[in-house]
Assembly symmetry: C2
Homo-oligomer: 188 residues x 2
DNA sequence: TAGTTTGTACAGTTTTTACTGTACGTTCTA
DNA sequence: TAGAACGTACAGTAAAAACTGTACAAACTA
């Protein structure tokens, strides 16, 4: 990691610091639903001062190349690492995406949207079908009240899904940064 | 489920609708990191017109009482169900929390905060230690640049964590609803 | 074209997680 | 106070996920 010219003592210190931070990153990455080890790999790449190959990763992580391949692929899907082209090298090179704001918003936008879209569709269809059913049932019947209650619950859920959809929109568009600015005057 | 007085045909329709919605809920609940079956249980409770006992759940879910016990406990921890007291009954009764806004914000507030707090602490400590190290190293040395780069990366990360902390604050305080109102005029 | 090198598919193994059944402590009931 | 009913701890089993090593297709090299 290009610390060669440092005294042994200093080298140890740097490695210790990095290792601790890498650990922290690895742990906190379960927010993104990835394995500890995938998170750990991300942490490793975080401190790498140049793009790494699968072999280098495997060496550092003391894990198989196959595992590195799958981990990197996961991180690529999450857009947390980028493939880098370097002339001369036949190997694939990867480096981390340092824009954590983007990483965060991308991930949850995708994850939440996936869930919302299908749910919304099903809830709406079900509300509609329930409506037809209610019209078939005599008024003021106990059973009618049960069905209407079902319907009400589903409509409330739809309200929530629509809100979540708008929240996702604001993550994607960046409007969220109007309410929560990237750098807060009070923190600086 | 108190649909007894309905014709067989209508009963089947209601059950079909409910089942479809329950499935959808069950699937979408993996957002909250719970098992399919725990999500499914939540869906079941969603349509229950009265609080349910563990035995009833087990019967409906065709699963062991033990599983119901652990699932319910998970949902209780996530504040997605509430324990209900009913005089006369010795059994514990549970009903869902219908406020999905609250459920959502609670969950992610807690989850994210957990991750941010520890990370922030570690990053800050590490930046500090790295600073000391940098002062030990001769100026304009290549190694110094590497350390300063490490430091810069960590400071950028801290910026992100502070932002996330503020986002969490706004979820917890409800300020988020100023940017994204619960009911959008355009949707109504 | 033959010979390397590189990334990944796939099968097998280990580890982890989900679920079940039994057993037991606690609480209510008579 | 004895007996029954309830929820859960715990141990065992089944299912799923993570990881490894081998093998192979594609891409490069000479």
């Amino acid at each position: 990691m290009s610390l060669d010219h440092l005294s042994q003592e200093h080298q140890d210190k740097v490695i210790k610091i990095r290792k601790r931070v890498i650990e922290a990153i690895g742990r906190s990455m379960d927010l993104y639903g990835v394995t500890q080890s995938t998170g750990h790999l991300y942490g490793l790449l975080f401190f790498a001062d140049k793009p790494m190959t699968l072999d280098e990763m495997g060496q550092e992580m003391k894990m198989s190349k196959t595992s590195m391949s799958t981990s990197v692929r996961t991180l690529l899907d999450l857009q947390m690492v980028n493939k880098v082209w370097e002339k001369g090298s036949r190997k694939d090179l990867y480096e981390v995406e340092y824009d954590w704001f983007q990483t965060f918003t991308d991930y949850f936008a995708i994850e939440w949207r996936k869930s919302v879209e299908t749910s919304l569709q099903i809830f709406r269809k079900s509300i509609e079908e329930m409506q037809k059913l209610i019209q078939d049932v005599p008024e003021e019947d106990a059973i009618r009240r049960v069905l209407m209650e079902d319907q009400r619950k589903m409509e409330e859920a739809v309200g929530y899904y629509l809100w979540l959809n708008r929240l996702i929109d604001s993550l994607e568009s960046g409007d969220i940064y109007q309410l929560i600015p990237k750098d807060n005057p009070r923190d600086v």
